[in-house]
């Protein structure tokens, strides 16, 4: 029996590699998607939370008016609940227990303190306005500098300082010796602003008791229903089997929905208490003021190079403002760990030292946002490389070319023993330089622009380790470590295919790409393949969708299950054809033996409805297979890209316009290139937000200062140029079909490319930037200051 893929299946119009339209878009485009807010259960009550107005305080009392006592709930009511604890087993990690509702101490603005329930949200908000808080304000830890000061107030008194954990890397040799000998030394201080993730759909939770199936059912916009199920059960003291979590259509996650929420636990408790469905929908104000939870890094970084610009060493001290608590399951350690881990990037760096601190502050807990630490890391490293290029007197791209790891050295282990699976980084860079037409830009820069603006070009390169497996994540000591990803493939009685997966699509198009993978193996048309996800009752356990893992892990599992199912189908089909099992082929929805064939429908009919036709000794597990998958080597896939930006800077207003933007991306074999283009475009738009617009300012007492979209700027249609995407496809040697994770990369490089481009434009004025976002205020201020020098 043979069922090999016939090489690279571009010939097949809907298999791996085909840019087919997304199956799920029919319902999304026609407004028939089912998000949490679209689901109606009779008798649902609405919840509004009383949130902390201050960043740091001792909470002495919560005054609930007497007429509201049965409709407002506080920490006292929830006394039987366990707090949320994201324990990591890393040595030296200081633990934080996040209460469901705050009591005793308030640690950030927006922390939930009381829960008000009413027939409508407006009435619940009226109640919330009547709840009084008696608190004694404490000095706030509003930034890293304050947190690290010797006399700093303490977020968690029992710790003695404000550091969750410090990661140290010393690799490749003695950095002090490098420092003494290097011809070029460049030091920069670089900051990325804290900001909000802002998916189109906010968070939302609808909880109810299912008496028939005996479940507490929590419908939540989450990326990881099983993790929420397990976490909820632990907090509530219930067996996992009594908790069902449904994640319906989800309008964007980016990490914002990759955790166990206090609100999920609170509503789960509430519906058990009241016996009626309860719902909470996050509004824009809650998102902005209580959840600016990503990206805030500070780097003091020094790069060493020889006179030719060859990198000799990198020395860095980084601080991540991790907020007040460690969230479940990613923990407050992840971001700082990734900084120390990822900083060397795709370069051949001989010596490396880094100290990376996860710092506690009176802000909401940090969450890993699309790209996780890479966005800051890429900005820090690429900015230093640009500065070294200037010192060495060579073009920035040429400096990078001298330091990138060549394809002949793949697979490559970098200074931290990180295992790069495959790729041709120098070629990726060259293609980007060609595509943006660097020589033409250099020529154009020789004459002034007609409109008086200055143009500049910037480059940034990064690698995106995705689909980290057990071997990587177990070493991080996380409470939830992914293992074998599973998928179930089932043939229905009429020969259609159902796929069940534990990952959850929140915009990635898995209903299409997983179907393409199953189609690749079984050959059924896509419209006869249905992909189920997002319900702990229906799908295999999974840690969910995060870390650019789904197409590698979930896709691999779908392939395994489809292959195993093909064997079962083949065995029955062969019997029906009166052929030997190893003499038939399974594909195109048929079992073929020579000239004869039977359809999957006939095979399914035999198993389900006419079992008298089955062969003796048939596999009694039937036409339903659950299979597990783990990449051959699970240290992760390495996608990578070069971003090149051409900008015009108006030196009289400080405004930046992106004139051209090129992405040359290598994500291995692309299951659906159209979907990948969408991922890259969307990610790049978010990266442009990080680079030019997004920042949540906090005052010295930890108050977030942007409470509406008037003050919090997101990139809009007019700010995102037509992004030109070019693909390379170097297969991963370790994964099914050679795919690589690619979900996050778009958001990584734009800040670095934009800073590089603006610095290129303004270099003649003696102005250089390191921090993002690059606001007109900052640009204009620096130009004016340089003019006065």
């Amino acid at each position: 029996m043979s069922m090999e893929r016939s090489g690279h299946a571009r010939a097949d119009a809907s298999g791996v590699g085909a840019a087919v339209l997304r199956k799920e878009d029919a319902r999304f485009l026609e407004g028939r998607g089912q998000y949490v807010a679209d689901i109606r259960l009779p008798g649902t009550l609405e919840v509004a939370f009383v949130r902390s107005p201050v960043a740091h305080a001792r909470l002495k009392a919560v005054h609930v008016p007497a007429d509201l006592e049965r409709r407002v709930f506080t920490a006292e009511d929830l006394a039987d609940m366990k707090p949320i604890r994201a324990a990591t087993a890393l040595p030296g990690f200081k633990h934080s227990s996040e209460p469901v509702l705050a009591s005793g101490k308030i640690r950030y603005v927006g922390e939930i303190i009381a829960m008000c329930v009413a027939p409508s949200r407006a009435e619940a908000e009226d109640m919330a306005a009547r709840v009084g808080l008696d608190y004694e304000e404490l000095p706030a830890v509003a930034d890293v500098a304050r947190a690290m000061a010797p006399d700093a107030p303490l977020v968690h008194e029992e710790w003695g300082d404000n550091v969750f954990i410090t990661f140290s890397e010393d690799a490749g040799g003695d950095i002090d010796r490098v420092a003494a000998e290097a011809a070029i030394t460049v030091t920069r201080e670089i900051r990325t602003a804290r900001h909000c993730m802002f998916p189109m759909e906010g968070r939302g939770v609808l909880a109810h008791m299912d008496a028939r199936l005996d479940f507490l059912t929590v419908i939540s916009a989450t990326q990881m229903p099983h993790v929420v199920q397990h976490g909820l059960a632990e907090c509530l003291g219930l067996p996992d089997g009594k908790v069902r979590v449904i994640s319906p259509d989800v309008g964007g996650g980016f990490g914002y929905k990759g955790l166990l929420l206090r609100e999920e636990v609170a509503l789960a408790w509430l519906t058990r208490r009241l016996g009626v469905p309860v719902r909470w929908l996050e509004d824009c104000r809650e998102h902005l003021t209580a959840n600016a939870n990503c990206r805030e890094h500070a780097y003091a970084i020094t790069g060493y190079a020889d006179s030719e610009g060859r990198l000799l060493g990198l020395d860095c001290v980084a601080h991540v403002d991790a907020g007040a608590y460690s969230v479940y399951p990613t923990s407050s350690a992840l971001e700082a760990a990734q900084v120390a881990n990822l900083l060397p990037g795709p370069y051949d760096l001989p010596v490396y030292r880094c100290r990376s601190h996860a710092v506690a502050s009176n802000k909401c807990p940090i969450l890993p946002y699309r790209g996780v630490a890479r966005t800051g890391v890429c900005l820090a490293l690429e900015t230093v490389l640009d500065a070294i290029a200037v010192e060495a007197g060579i073009e920035p791209w040429e400096l990078r070319l001298r330091n990138l790891v060549g394809p002949e050295r793949m697979p490559f282990e970098n200074v931290l023993k990180k295992h790069f699976d495959s790729g041709d980084y120098p070629q990726c860079l060259r293609r980007a330089v060609d595509a943006i037409d660097l020589p033409a830009i250099r020529e154009r820069q020789k004459a002034p622009e007609a409109d008086g603006r200055r143009i500049g070009v910037g480059l940034a390169i990064f690698c995106e380790q995705g689909a980290h497996g057990t071997s990587v994540l177990a070493s991080w000591g996380r409470p939830v470590v992914p293992g074998y990803e599973q998928a179930t493939a089932r043939l229905t009685a009429d020969g259609e295919l159902e796929i069940r997966v534990g990952t959850h699509s929140h915009g990635q198009g898995h209903e299409t790409t997983y179907a393409q993978i199953a189609h690749e193996i079984l050959g059924l048309p896509l419209e006869r393949i249905k992909v189920f996800q997002g319900d702990t009752l229906l799908v295999p356990f999974s840690t969910g969708t995060w870390g650019s893992r789904s197409i590698v892990m979930g896709g691999g599992a779908v392939a395994e299950a489809s292959r195993a199912l093909a064997l079962r189908i083949g065995a029955i089909g062969a019997w029906l054809l009166q052929a030997e099992a190893d003499a038939v082929e399974v594909g195109a929805g048929m079992v073929r033996g020579g000239e004869a064939s039977v359809s999957f429908g006939e095979v399914a009919r035999a198993w389900y409805l006419q079992p008298q036709q089955l062969p003796p000794g048939v596999d009694t597990t039937g036409l339903e297979v659950t299979a597990g998958y783990r990449a051959e080597r699970d240290s992760g896939t390495f996608s990578y890209a070069t971003h090149a930006a051409l900008v015009a800077v108006d030196t009289e207003t400080g405004l930046v316009e992106i004139l051209d933007y090129v992405v040359v991306e290598d994500g291995g074999v692309l299951v659906n290139p159209m979907i990948v283009d969408g991922q890259i475009t969307g990610g790049t738009a978010q990266g442009i937000g990080t680079g030019l617009f997004e920042a949540m300012p906090f005052d010295s007492e930890g108050q977030p200062l942007a409470s509406t979209l008037l003050d919090y700027l997101l990139p809009g249609a007019a700010d995102v140029p037509d992004i030109r995407i070019l693909h390379m496809e170097t297969p991963s040697p370790y994964t099914a079909f050679g795919v690589k994770g690619i979900g996050e990369g778009g958001a990584v490089a734009p800040p670095a490319a934009l800073v590089s481009a603006v610095n290129d434009a303004l270099r003649p004025l003696g102005v250089a930037f390191c921090d993002v976002p690059l606001t007109p205020d900052a640009i204009l201020g620096a130009i004016l200051a340089a003019g006065e020098r």
Partner: protein
């Protein structure tokens, strides 16, 4: 983000609206397009007892072109001007400014009178009308009065409008044939409120050479004899004097001053350029 409870009335005429405001004794608030008031209600920044919805009042949607002016009802939306559902061609800047206000969804509902009465220092209409020599017709229980646009706004979010008065009509004088305009709005991004606005109007036929510096902390600065500021050719600005004016208006930060100066210079350059203004 839901408003606190309020009562609601929808009067049929301007005088009924004024009467409702008077009866509200300071607890009543007028709502037209709701593009500023709506979010403020939702954020509970304002909690009026009564909302007086003027959207259905016919007189506020009237438009008339007379021999020397455009008379625009205060309830006319930016989108209606942007789309030229009323022909404002006699004052060419109106369509351009309308089209640059916020986003289309805001322009669909936001009214010219609502914006003027809300008096946000960075709003577009607020920073245009004084430069055009516009007058507003206000109606209250004691009758009708006319106020010059330059005198209407007194400070950020403050106007001379009495608590029971309604802005009914915006009267915009028609420029003469040789009039030239410059208008520059500098914003972080499309759709956002301005960081700086400047308007320059040169209408020798009517003896007007006026400059407006807007999106300040308060009412816009209007300079009637702009030659003293910009030179008689419009292209020799007295940067020291402009800087002093800005400092006087509380704009002390160098980058912000630079932005206003840039806007003004560019608006003047547009008004005095050889190309016809768009």
């Amino acid at each position: 983000m839901k408003p606190a409870p309020f009562d609601y009335t929808r009067p049929a005429s301007v005088s009924e609206a004024a009467a409702a405001l008077a009866a509200g004794e300071g607890g009543a608030k007028l709502i037209a397009g709701g593009q500023s008031l709506g979010p403020m209600l939702n954020l509970r920044l304002v909690q009026p007892r009564l909302l007086v919805d003027v959207a259905g009042i016919e007189a506020l949607h009237a438009f008339e072109e007379t021999a020397d002016a455009l008379r625009i009802g205060a309830g006319i939306t930016a989108a209606n001007i942007e789309d030229q559902r009323i022909d404002t061609g006699a004052v060419p800047l109106l369509q351009r400014v309308a089209a640059g206000i916020a986003y289309r969804a805001v322009r669909n509902r936001g009214t010219i009178g609502g914006s003027l009465c809300h008096a946000d220092p960075a709003a577009d209409w607020v920073n245009l009308m004084p430069a055009l020599g516009v007058r507003y017709e206000l109606v209250g229980p004691s009758g009708r009065r006319t106020v010059a646009a330059a005198d209407f706004m007194t400070a950020a979010f403050e106007t001379v409008l009495a608590p029971d008065e309604v802005l009914e009509t915006v009267v915009i004088p028609k420029p003469s044939a040789g009039a030239r305009f410059g208008h520059v709005k500098i914003a972080r991004k499309t759709g956002k409120f301005a960081m700086a606005i400047a308007v320059v109007v040169s209408d020798p036929g009517r003896g007007v050479f006026r400059a407006l510096i807007g999106a300040t902390h308060g009412r816009p600065l209007v300079v009637e004899e702009a030659a003293s500021l910009l030179g008689s050719d419009g292209n020799t600005p007295d940067t020291a004097r402009i800087g002093a004016l800005l400092v006087e208006a509380g704009i002390t930060e160098p980058a912000a001053r630079q932005l206003h100066l840039t806007a003004l210079r560019r608006a003047a350059a547009e008004a005095f350029s050889k190309a016809l203004p768009s």
